[in-house]
């Protein structure tokens, strides 16, 4: 990670320089006229402007490179890996979260499932699930069942032998009764239709 360290050092130096300029300007150590004069010089000199433009492009490229390296690093930390004779297989934790979302879509009792998967060497895989349930069901029974399903499906699909801890947080119960009440209210508000009594 030599490039990564070089970019970090470069940005530290640039930031320190900018900080020093701002500080000296605020403390009146640098005359405003001097800065204006220097900027005028640059604007009148075509070579200086080319150098400035090149520096700008370099800064942007370095920033993009830094972003890519950082993102790749983060990605590497968020994976589960195992080795096959032909090479390594890495599974991103996003893929595990995708699987959990699909499980949530299969179960009619769940309105919304928000997963968050954490993998550490010490604790193994920790699955945190935030649930919105559709109807009034037996929560302890259902969540216990879901914990088991999640654990089994992860082990079965990803072939993981590590310890899996599934934590479920029921955040909301989607009130169907409220819906029914609202419907009843709407019906009650509708005006009565008068049907003329037929004369015999």
């Amino acid at each position: 990670m030599k490039i990564y360290n070089a970019i970090i050092i470069f940005y530290i130096l640039v930031s320190a320089f900018l900080g020093a300029v701002i500080l000296s300007f605020s403390l009146n150590l640098v005359d405003l006229n001097d800065i204006v004069f220097q900027l005028n010089e640059i604007s009148n000199d075509i070579n200086a402007r080319i150098v400035l433009a090149a520096s700008g492009v370099l800064f942007i490229l370095l920033a993009l490179l830094f972003a890519q390296i950082t993102s790749a690093r983060r990605q590497r930390e968020k994976t589960i890996a195992f080795n096959n004779p032909s090479g390594q297989v890495t599974i991103t934790l996003f893929a595990v979260e995708d699987l959990l979302r699909k499980i949530g879509q299969e179960l009619p009792q769940i309105k919304e499932l928000r997963p968050n998967v954490i993998a550490t060497k010490k604790r193994g895989i920790q699955v945190n699930i935030r649930l919105t349930l559709k109807s009034e069901i037996n929560i302890p029974e259902f969540t216990a069942q879901l914990q088991e399903t999640v654990k089994n499906r992860i082990q079965e699909i990803f072939g993981i032998d590590e310890q899996i801890v599934v934590r479920i947080h029921v955040a909301k119960i989607f009130a169907q009764q409220e819906k029914i009440k609202r419907k009843e209210e709407v019906i009650a508000e509708e005006p009565e239709v008068k049907i003329p009594y037929p004369r015999i």
Partner: protein, 120 residues
């Protein structure tokens, strides 16, 4: 960016993109694979209209043996270790058969799991 082989008549250069294309073809032959890529880099290249062979990474070690890294998006419901193993075997076989390059490792990255209706 190319692997050289010398013959009596001259030199044969195989570009990394060619190896990547073979690896992609071999990967897509495995049932349960939706697409190659699925990471930020591929997404950015897709926006720029680049093909998916940028997603496959080809490296060579000191002994000129190739290390291929393939990021994939898998169809929901398939067994991941099984698919990954099939990808590794098929990529290794296809690249070795087509180019005579020795493959040291085929690394598979499972980036995402998607439902079958998103299949291209």
């Amino acid at each position: 960016m190319s692997e050289n082989t010398k013959t009596e008549l001259g030199e044969i250069k195989i570009h990394h993109r060619v190896i990547a294309s073979i690896a992609i073809e071999a990967t897509m032959q495995i049932p349960g694979i939706i697409k190659i890529g699925g990471n930020l880099k591929t997404f950015l290249f897709e926006l720029l209209g680049k093909k998916d062979n940028v997603a496959v990474k080809i490296e060579f070690d000191k002994d000129s043996e190739a290390i291929i890294t393939v990021p994939i998006v898998v169809k929901y419901g398939y067994n991941i270790p099984e698919i990954a193993s099939k990808v590794q075997d098929n990529v290794k076989l296809s690249v070795e058969n087509a180019t005579n390059i020795n493959i040291k490792e085929v690394n598979v990255k499972i980036q995402k799991i998607e439902k079958a209706n998103t299949e291209k």
